[in-house]
């Protein structure tokens, strides 16, 4: 092993004593940070309030710290301590806006989107983002028990009419469903840690936008979301527990108010005895990419940095072949696999360090600049932020090792750079600029080394939220480390081929 350590040291000496390579690394860091911060500095956002420009309100944040969408119509009353609510959702109807057929005339057609929700809820007040648990019937996905904006558990596939019941016991909430109000089946349990004694309990309806996809002229996929609303009739509503039985209140939670003070797409309700007809629009869900900019968008310059790193790494290998340096190298170290391994360790380590420095500066600073310019940036947990920074460094390092292996394999720097760019940068570019159909873009990011960019993803895909989960919006088909593993596999494969070729060939 000491022999191998000497080899690594020798390759490190080789690397640091060629000025162009060291400057290349510095340039990679500067490009990553410079381009990223420049883009952040040039990105301004403000929200209009009539003629007045105001700072955009911060997006609501859920109990987990993630940005959330929290908009629904809520008919509720106070509950202190344990209690329950039971209701029969007799019907669920709705309206969906379709493209206008006559200019200026809103084209609303009857219909309920699959993830329209109507049900009973316990929530820690009416503030957006406050903790809640709810059992509900949906437009097309049966009965669900949801809480904390991200948690979802399926009940039966029943649709309205269906009976729903939510029972509070301390900070534990249990959802039930029943076809007839007599035989009940548990849907799920949620524990809302720290739920206060006094909460709101009641009925809610909401309906997310109608998402449709079409092909644009360039071949990319375009997603359009149109307004929808849902209306549910609740019958035989019964609430029990301390402090209940008082007057019902209602809130159009999260409604946006126009410049004139009038709410935009307001919800409403009508009460006749214990029958409530509630209409709502919106969603109770994680915000996804619509909640603001993504932290990894500050790393746009990483692509330029990656190209520079690829040039350096390919050159580091190909330089051995320009004047026959490889003969001196192999005379000093006859173990050929070990020579390439030492080179890979050196180039991987230095590019990882460069990438780490670049990303660790660019991401937090870039986010701060974006926010100072009035942009909403989706909050990320410390762990996710660290993963993006470390992962981006690893992405750079693996791309460098791949380029190094190609340089050793092809023995020509220019050729190696061309191939490396063609397999890493080109697929990433094609997949993220909306020129390919969605599925084609997703396959590119599964099968090519560009899959490694998945490590930068900060938004999450949720099966219970219909969304445009496209690479262009920061959604990758593979999980973060899985995507990086694909790139790592390519780098390992190329390195293996390079070692085999080096062993086979005369130097």
């Amino acid at each position: 092993m000491s022999g191998f350590r000497r080899l690594v040291r020798a390759e490190w000496t080789k690397f640091r004593t060629v000025r162009g390579w060291v400057l290349g690394l510095v340039a990679a860091v500067a490009l990553t940070a410079g381009l990223g911060l420049q883009a952040a500095a040039g990105s301004h956002a403000s929200c209009g309030m009539g003629a007045v420009e105001v700072a955009c309100p911060a997006p609501p944040v859920g109990p987990g710290g993630e940005a959330v969408t929290d908009r629904f119509f809520f008919v509720h009353q106070r509950l202190d301590g344990d209690g329950a609510i039971t209701a029969r959702v007799a019907s669920m109807t709705g309206r969906i806006r379709k493209p206008d057929e006559r200019p200026g005339v809103t084209n609303l057609v009857p219909g309920v989107v699959p993830w329209a929700k109507a049900g009973v809820m316990v929530k820690d007040g009416t503030r957006q983002g406050a903790a809640y648990a709810a059992v509900m019937v949906t437009g097309g996905h049966g009965v669900r028990m949801q809480h904390g904006f991200t948690e979802d558990r399926a009940g039966t596939a029943a649709s309205a009419p269906v009976w729903l019941r939510l029972v509070r016991s301390g900070d534990e909430l249990t959802g039930f469903e029943s076809p007839d109000g007599r035989t009940w089946a548990e849907v799920g349990t949620a524990t809302l840690a720290g739920l206060p004694e006094s909460v709101r309990i009641g009925l809610f309806v909401t309906s997310p936008g109608d998402l449709t996809f079409s092909q644009d002229v360039l071949g990319g996929t375009v997603a359009v979301q149109r307004f929808t609303e849902a209306t549910a009739a609740f019958e035989q509503v019964g609430v029990r527990g301390a402090a209940t039985g008082g007057a019902w209140s209602h809130d159009d939670v999260g409604v946006t108010v126009g410049p004139g003070g009038a709410p935009h797409h307001p919800g409403r309700h009508v009460r006749q005895g214990d029958t409530f007809t509630v209409t709502g629009t919106g969603d109770i869900a994680p915000a996804g990419d619509e909640g603001g900019m993504r932290a990894e968008q500050t790393l746009t310059g990483l692509l330029a940095g990656l190209v520079v790193v690829v040039v350096v790494a390919a050159g580091f290998a190909a330089a051995e072949y320009r004047g026959g340096l490889i003969r001196i190298t192999l005379a000093a170290a006859p173990g050929r696999g070990r020579v390439l391994a030492a080179k890979a360790i050196v180039v991987g380590t230095v590019t990882f360090a460069a990438g780490l420095a670049a990303a660790a500066v660019t991401v937090p600073l870039g986010v701060r600049v974006l926010e100072a310019n009035g942009n909403r940036v989706l909050p990320v947990s410390l762990l996710t932020g660290a993963r993006v920074v470390v992962g981006s460094a690893a992405l750079l390092a693996l791309a460098a090792v791949l380029a190094l292996a190609l340089g050793a394999l092809l023995r020509r720097g220019v050729l190696a750079v061309a191939v490396a760019v063609a397999v890493i940068v080109l697929p990433y570019f094609l997949a993220t600029v909306s020129v390919l159909p969605l599925e084609a873009a997703r396959w590119l990011l599964r099968l090519t080394p560009a899959a490694g960019f998945a490590v930068q993803q900060t938004v999450m895909e949720y099966p219970q939220v219909a969304g445009h989960y496209a690479p262009v919006l920061g959604y990758y088909p593979l999980p973060p480390w899985g995507g990086l593993a694909v790139l790592a596999a390519y780098a390992a494969l190329a390195l293996g081929l390079a070692v085999a070729a080096l062993r086979r060939r005369d130097a």
Binding site: S2, G3, R6, L7, R9, A10, E11, T13, K14, T17, V18, R19, G20, A319, R322, G323, G324, L325, I326, R327, I328, L330, A331, A332, A333, P334, G335, D506, A507
Partner: protein, 305 residues
């Protein structure tokens, strides 16, 4: 470690062309062994095979009795100057030697020593790309000496050297051999090795055509030929031919006799009373001997073997 290079039965083809065709020789310590032969004789290929850079199709190449690839710090065993192995142009001479030193675990101090030894101390911090061919050869020598190796193998070290450099190189090679090292020096010009090499391995068409000391080679190339001037050419030819010489008339009153020493010729002619005016032993130059050998690359073994 024993300071030897042993090459036995090396064969190698580049496609259809045989580059090595049974190359065998041994380099022993304490003298400079010249490795000569026309371009394409297989000298560089042999050296690359010894260093494990090229794989031979057959045969063995050992350094100090071991295959090169089994050496843990090869530069402490063998110092090599290779043809077609230039340092990277963008790196300084000192840094080139530094990474080599690091690869073997040598101290950085040794780098400065060999720079001094090779006369490169003044340009140590200049990039190798700006070096003349001669300076690059000196850098290659410095690299070869880095590990103070008992075996040195230098491929065309005189290439690109100015007259001063050639004198320096000859002195260096002699002193390295005098220190008890095995020194193998290839050249396609025999004259470069005159006064330097004590032993010669002459290669032609991928094999050894002569493996001999310089003195024996010249002796053999002279072939014991004697030039004789005499008025009685016919009698002289008869006398000498009877004694077993190969006799040829070269002029009206001159002839050459092969296979007999000059003293024996004089003795025979005197005995038979044949008058003669001049007897001279023909002495070949090293260059002539070499030309003789490599003209047709026939198998040849010197008397010393």
């Amino acid at each position: 470690m024993e300071a030897t290079i042993e090459v036995a039965g090396l064969r190698k083809r580049f496609g259809e062309v045989p580059a090595l065709d049974g190359m065998s020789f041994t380099v022993t310590p304490g003298r400079v062994t010249g490795f000569v032969g026309p371009n394409g004789a297989g000298k560089s290929t042999t050296m690359r095979v010894v260093l494990g850079l090229d794989a031979a199709d057959a045969g063995t190449a050992l350094v100090g009795g071991r295959p090169y690839r089994s050496l843990r710090t090869p530069l402490a065993h063998v110092g090599a100057l290779l043809d077609g192995a230039a340092p990277q142009p963008g790196r300084t001479a000192r840094h080139h030697l530094l990474w080599l030193a690091h690869s073997q675990g040598f101290a950085g101090r040794r780098v400065d020593e060999v720079l001094e030894l090779a006369g490169l101390a003044a340009v140590a911090r200049r990039r190798a790309g700006g070096f003349s061919l001669g300076m690059r050869q000196r850098l290659g020598i410095a690299a070869a000496l880095l590990g103070d190796p008992p075996v040195l193998m230098l491929d065309e070290p005189f290439n690109g050297l100015d007259p001063d450099g050639i004198v320096w190189m000859r002195g260096l090679l002699r002193s390295l051999a005098a220190e008890g090292r095995a020194v193998l020096v290839s050249s396609h010009l025999m004259s470069e090795l005159e006064d330097t090499a004590g032993h010669l391995v002459v290669a032609g068409r991928g094999r050894v055509v002569a493996d001999t000391s310089v003195a024996d080679l010249i002796e053999a190339a002279s072939g014991g030929r004697v030039t004789l001037r005499t008025r009685a050419r016919a009698e002289a030819m008869e006398t000498l031919a009877r004694a077993g010489a190969t006799v040829a008339a070269t002029g009206r009153d001159t002839l050459t006799a092969g296979g007999l020493a000059a003293e024996r010729v004089v003795e025979l002619l005197t005995r038979d009373g044949v008058p003669f005016a001049e007897v001279s032993a023909h002495r070949a130059t090293l260059e002539e001997a070499y030309m003789d050998l490599t003209r047709d690359a026939v198998e040849f073994r010197g008397a010393a073997r």
